[in-house]
């Protein structure tokens, strides 16, 4: 008998299977570490100490987590409507331009809490704009959203390259970046959050956008599971033909979903641009958009899962950076390998273990 249709209890589906997949991903990553002649367990220990051992480490971990929550939400919202948005990277990049333009024009005149709402809006607007054309192409012309969003990652990359090298660059400077924003265009650091737990933030760039990210998690949860729009999105995601029979307008839902998804990706830019470096730099997204895919898959497209898996990737990013100091043979790019393994085992091979687990489960239940 086929095992695919056997229902499993939620704690296996959402607990045991993802955990086992994660263990497999780490096992294979450990093999790589072992193959280059280091001790995987020692590496893991160093990684965890680097990420969680001190207040500063935790600050960095949560800083990365913030970015990944935004991009993870972006991917998840699209997946609920059956759309694979691979363009969060480009949408976040363009979102940075929106945030930077707001910061550059307001930072002379008003304090940060006046700039912030405009910056959130600007970042979301630019991110959504970047998603708009692929969305329209999918909705009206039937072009595959995966392909068009990939194309837009590259188009945005060229565009931002042009804007930073030719337009926004500080005259006389070599580095393709904007001027540093004044405090009116920066998001404050969250020293108090870390000191509440007795740590010291130090140089870590954990900032106000962390709180914005948490608010967005709540809003996404409300949107997906507590609104009519979210219901329509999920219907479309599960069965486009059922959605069509139910009178749910395909083109409209696709457009709205992708605009929200792009907007969330765009907001990710608040964290590095206005929170950390206080200027718009070239390639500042640094792959966070792609990490969002892994985060969303690991987190089963649910905001709570996304927070947890964003935290996991935050730990990997910060811990991996520390690890590369302690074990020079392991470069930072080890994180990329782990990330790939996680996407492979938690995403593409998600059902690999299921038949075995079903058999095991049936035996255990039947044996009682």
């Amino acid at each position: 008998m086929s095992t695919a249709s056997v229902p499993l209890p939620a704690w296996i589906n959402y607990g045991v299977i993802p955990l086992l997949n994660l263990v497999l991903a780490f096992f294979f990553s450990g093999l790589v570490v072992w193959a280059i002649g280091e001790n995987p367990f020692e590496a893991l220990q160093l990684l965890l100490i680097g990420a969680l051992g001190r207040g500063e480490g935790i600050g960095f971990t949560l800083f990365y987590t913030t970015s990944f929550i935004f991009t993870g939400l972006s991917v998840a919202v699209a997946i609920h409507a059956g759309l694979f948005n691979i363009g969060s990277e480009g949408q976040a990049y363009l979102g940075g331009l929106g945030a930077a333009l707001v910061a550059l024009s307001l930072d002379h005149y008003v304090p940060w809490y006046v700039t912030m709402p405009f910056a959130v809006f600007g970042a979301a607007l630019f991110g959504a704009a970047c998603a708009a054309i692929p969305a329209w192409l999918q909705a009206k012309r039937g072009s595959h959203i995966v392909i068009t969003t990939i194309m837009f990652n590259f188009i945005v990359s060229s565009l931002m390259n042009y804007v930073l090298v030719r337009v926004l660059i500080v005259p006389g400077k070599m580095a393709p970046e904007t001027r540093t924003f004044l405090p009116g265009g920066q998001l404050p650091k969250l020293d108090w959050l870390i000191s509440m737990f007795g740590g010291k933030l130090g140089a870590a760039p954990l900032n106000f956008s962390f709180l914005i990210a948490l608010v967005m998690c709540f809003l996404v949860w409300v949107l997906i599971w507590r609104t009519r729009l979210g219901y329509e999105m999920r219907t479309l995601g599960i069965s486009p033909s059922a959605a069509s029979y139910a009178g749910i307008p395909y083109a409209k839902i696709v457009m709205i979903t992708m605009l929200i998804s792009g907007g969330l990706a765009g907001m990710m830019a608040l964290n590095p641009v206005m929170g950390a470096s206080a200027r718009l730099q070239i390639e500042f997204v640094g792959g966070a958009g792609f990490v969002g895919i892994a985060v969303s898959l690991m987190g089963r497209n649910h905001p709570v899962g996304i927070i947890l898996s964003a935290l996991l990737f935050g730990i990997l990013y910060q811990g991996g950076a520390e690890l590369s100091f302690d074990m020079p043979k392991i470069t930072r790019d080890m994180i990329v390998v782990i990330q790939g393994m996680v996407i492979l085992f938690a995403g593409a091979l998600e059902y690999m273990l299921r038949p075995a687990i079903v058999r095991f489960y049936q035996q255990a239940v039947g044996g009682k």
Partner: protein
Amino acid sequence: MDYFDILISILGSAIRLSVPLLFTALAGLFSERAGIFDIGLEGKMLASAFASACVAYWTGNAWLGLLAGIGISIVFSLVHGFASITNRGNQIVSGVALNFVAAGLTIVLGQAWFNQGGRTGQVPAEGRFSSIVLPGADAVRDVPIIGPLYANVISGNNILTYIAFLMVPVSWWVLYRTRFGLRLRAVGENPGAVDTAGISVSWLRYRALIVAGFLCGFSGTYLAIAQSAAFINNMSAGKGYIALAALIFAKWKPVPVMLACLLFGFLDAFANFMQGKSVPLLGEVPVQIFQALPYILTCVLLAGFIGIARPPKAGGVPYTKER
């Protein structure tokens, strides 16, 4: 004559830049016509570039390098197949995963083995594919127009370039004139029908992926030990995605794939040439426009403004036998 010399040099570099695209796009052609989306082309290219550079460095033999490049590329293809055919996972997720694994692994291993910031060692001359001067190239060099075209564009490339262009008719023949090709195309359109005819859908798709891995191995090898003499950190630099764009731009057909790759190679060469030069009336045209042009053109095509790009019908859908 000055302009003609410039044209010749741009054409020559367009050919060289289009070769990796051509191998990769043909690889994508096989897997996508069989109904398997292949976002992982970029990763396969990168991994094969790394493997070929390592082996060519250690053995000093370019052909062994090529073999290693092809081998690792096929391994990546098989992992993709295991995830997306055997386990019916999401093909796009699997491709994205392989791209990450390749991007990370090449740097981690490269750093551990060579300790040069992600570079491999310099491959010696005999470990590379050097350029071949075709017979008569020097004799006809002075013939107007045809002479320089033959001597500088057609002759003087390395063996992989000629293999790349040879692969175009070969791919066409395999896809359209063999039983394997017919079945491969059928499985990308209607796997149910193929299954009904008693042919294994999985095995057919696995074979398509092996062919894709084989072709993609050439492209990475070309980058590492024909165009340059070492593997460099993130060497493929998005070429796998441009190849994917070329494949779509060519509407999943072999000969148009070649033309699209040549067009995108030409744009790349032209962008390099235009860097810092000014055009009459327009002034200096930003290079970024040329860099973005392949992607913009593909989107315009996908929008249905230049004919219709119709992908294989069963693309991206895992095949489930009836339960």
